[in-house]
């Protein structure tokens, strides 16, 4: 039996489409975990990245923190957090957020910092407030890159949120963890295929969001 057979067997089994362990439930749980983690990471990464990028300072500290955060093993972090905090949502969110903050933070910083300085100078010279310079002049131009950072963070979260299953939570990781335990490889492969599919959907959503949010005047090349 090859992988494709596993996949078709998994998805054609009607038992997998109902109940608390059904695909819709697990998918929805996974999406919830991912959205929560992405929102938290964006809430940290975007403002810090925007402000440091605007003032052009703190780049070194930023990349140091980002490198350190990337070096942390996600799974180890989950185990430690669970031991310290007990079972629950929080120990899962910590490693996911730590995973997602660096790409958001670093690309946002770089995106704002690399905005052409002459419109910024012009904006200040015409008496624009500093917050407006950031939000109305720099941000719209930096948007494509910022979306890029959010996108790679989101993809990483979606694929890593499977770890929630290790600490008794739901999500698509349930199929992988349970399948491995039960030697039910149909389930393992099916779960993995769902995660991969969700990652692709995320990619498509970001593509659409970028297209909708970025002004047609902003050239992708710069």
């Amino acid at each position: 039996m090859n992988v494709l057979n596993f996949v078709s067997a998994f998805f054609s089994d009607s038992a997998h489409w109902h109940g608390y362990d059904g695909i819709p439930t697990r998918l929805w749980e996974h999406v919830q975990y991912s959205l929560e983690a992405l929102a938290l990471a964006a809430a940290i990464g975007l403002p810090v990245g925007l402000v440091t990028g605007h003032y052009g300072r703190g780049g070194n500290v930023l990349s140091l923190v980002a490198t350190a955060a990337r070096a942390l093993p996600t799974f180890g972090l989950l185990v430690v957090a669970t031991i310290v905090l007990g079972f629950g949502m929080l120990p899962v969110m910590i490693p996911l957020v730590i995973l997602a903050v660096p790409p958001i933070l670093v690309t946002t910083y770089e995106a704002v910092r690399s905005v052409d300085p002459s419109p910024v100078d012009a904006a200040r010279g015409m008496g624009m407030r500093e917050t407006d310079v950031l939000l109305r002049v720099e941000l719209p131009v930096a948007l494509p890159l910022i979306f890029g950072g959010l996108r790679s963070a989101a993809i990483q979260i979606v694929s890593t949120a499977t770890i929630a299953a290790y600490v008794s939570l739901g999500g698509l990781g349930r199929y992988i963890v349970d399948g491995l335990y039960q030697h039910d490889y149909e389930k393992v492969v099916g779960g993995a295929a769902l995660v991969a599919g969700l990652a692709l959907v995320t990619l498509a959503l970001f593509w659409a969001a970028t297209k909708a949010a970025v002004s047609p005047g902003v050239r992708r090349s710069n």
Partner: protein, 384 residues
């Protein structure tokens, strides 16, 4: 009036960008700050809208210290144009121009209506309104930059090397456009450039700064060319300042000879009556009176003038409107050594020799009768 009152700008590393500079910038005229790089001209400009704060001294606007009002209020009352236009690439042309009115709280419709009005004023086709900056050429972008600076009708316009990034042909067009707009609007313009020709062409007053941020000379351009204050200014003006100064003398005083002008359908009597006295060549004109070319007198036969065998007459100058410099240039370029003068309509008004242009130059120098520079409109006609 903007008064720069013994202003010094010293940076923390000890560099002195501007050194005890005092300038009175007259209202409703173009004051040009010119000098080599590192002379502090841009710093001086940026101190006027407080993009740079002076270390010592003050800048007074209508007698009031510019630090009396908030930075943003001050800046919203001064248009600001920079080298690469600095347009907002995510906004359409019309919204770029409407930026300051929107900041001042105008409604979107009113601001856009004003923006469209300004597009027309700076010579941009209305079809550009919905385009984005990347769809425009450098020259067009700079027109948008000027329109954006004028949008809220500020009394002061600060321009920092606005035309130096475009090619010479486009630059000349933008300069002429600026003079035209200035003749209509009468703003107080402070204009920074490193190009002395641009300074002489645009400036009502020109401040020449030397490296280290010291004022070398502050004078009207004609005076700058005739009486440079010192060797630095003389050197900065370049080797041909004598020729350039001729831009300020009108060609109105030239003695135009009409006798050598012969229409292509001239009769034998008219050709004979032309005489061969002063000019060695005859200027043949078409039926519409426009010059066609030069002919040797012995080739002139009534009814048989061959246009193909005429010597080219080159570009003529407009009598009375163009300067002596333009007239001299025409004479130098003419194959016969004689310049052709035309009237407003392009019809031949007469011819003039290099010798008699030289005579006029001597006379003009003796009288020192440069054209005054107070209005923009007259000037662009004289300078060609």
């Amino acid at each position: 009036m903007i008064r720069i009152d013994s202003v010094t700008k010293r940076y923390p590393d000890g560099t002195v960008a501007v050194d005890r500079l005092s300038l009175d910038i007259p209202d409703r005229s173009i004051t040009v700050l010119v000098g080599p790089s590192g002379c502090g001209k841009t710093t001086t400009l940026r101190m006027i809208n407080r993009m740079v704060e002076p270390s010592v001294g003050a800048i007074l606007i209508d007698g009031v210290d510019s630090r009396q009002q908030s930075v943003n209020t001050l800046r919203r009352g001064m248009g600001y144009v920079i080298q690469n236009a600095g347009l907002f690439q995510h906004r359409t042309i019309v919204d770029n121009i409407a930026t300051v009115p929107r900041m001042l709280g105008w409604s979107k419709d009113k601001a856009r209506a004003r923006a469209r009005e300004l597009m027309e004023r700076v010579g941009l086709d209305a079809s550009f309104a919905k385009r984005y900056p990347y769809q425009l050429s450098g020259g067009q972008q700079q027109r948008v930059g000027v329109a954006r600076a004028l949008a809220a009708d500020p009394p002061v316009l600060l321009m920092d090397e606005p035309f130096s990034a475009v090619d010479p042909v486009v630059r000349k067009g933008l300069q002429d456009e600026l003079l035209r707009i200035q003749a209509e609007l009468g703003k107080t313009i402070v204009f920074v450039t490193h190009d002395i020709d641009e300074a002489v062409k645009l400036g009502t007053m020109v401040a020449v700064l030397r490296t280290g941020g010291r004022l070398a000379q502050f004078a009207p351009p004609a005076e700058l060319l005739s009486d440079p204050a010192d060797a630095f200014v003389e050197d900065f003006l370049g080797a041909d300042r004598g020729i350039r100064r001729l831009s300020f003398f009108s060609s109105a005083g030239l003695d135009l000879l009409t006798a050598p002008v012969v229409a292509i359908d001239a009769t034998a009597e008219q050709i004979a009556a032309r005489g061969t006295t002063e000019a060695p060549y005859a200027l043949v004109t078409g039926l519409d009176g426009r010059p066609l070319g030069w002919s040797e007198p012995d080739r002139l036969t009534a009814g048989q003038i061959d246009v193909g065998r005429l010597l080219p007459c080159g570009r003529p100058f407009v009598a009375g409107q163009d300067s002596l410099r333009a007239a001299l240039d025409c004479a130098v370029l003419s194959p016969t050594g004689w310049a052709v003068a035309v009237d407003d309509e392009g019809r031949a008004a007469g011819v003039v020799s290099q010798a008699s242009i030289a005579e006029a130059i001597r006379g003009a120098h003796a009288e020192g009768r440069e054209e005054p520079r107070s209005t923009g409109a007259g000037v662009q006609k004289v300078i060609r």
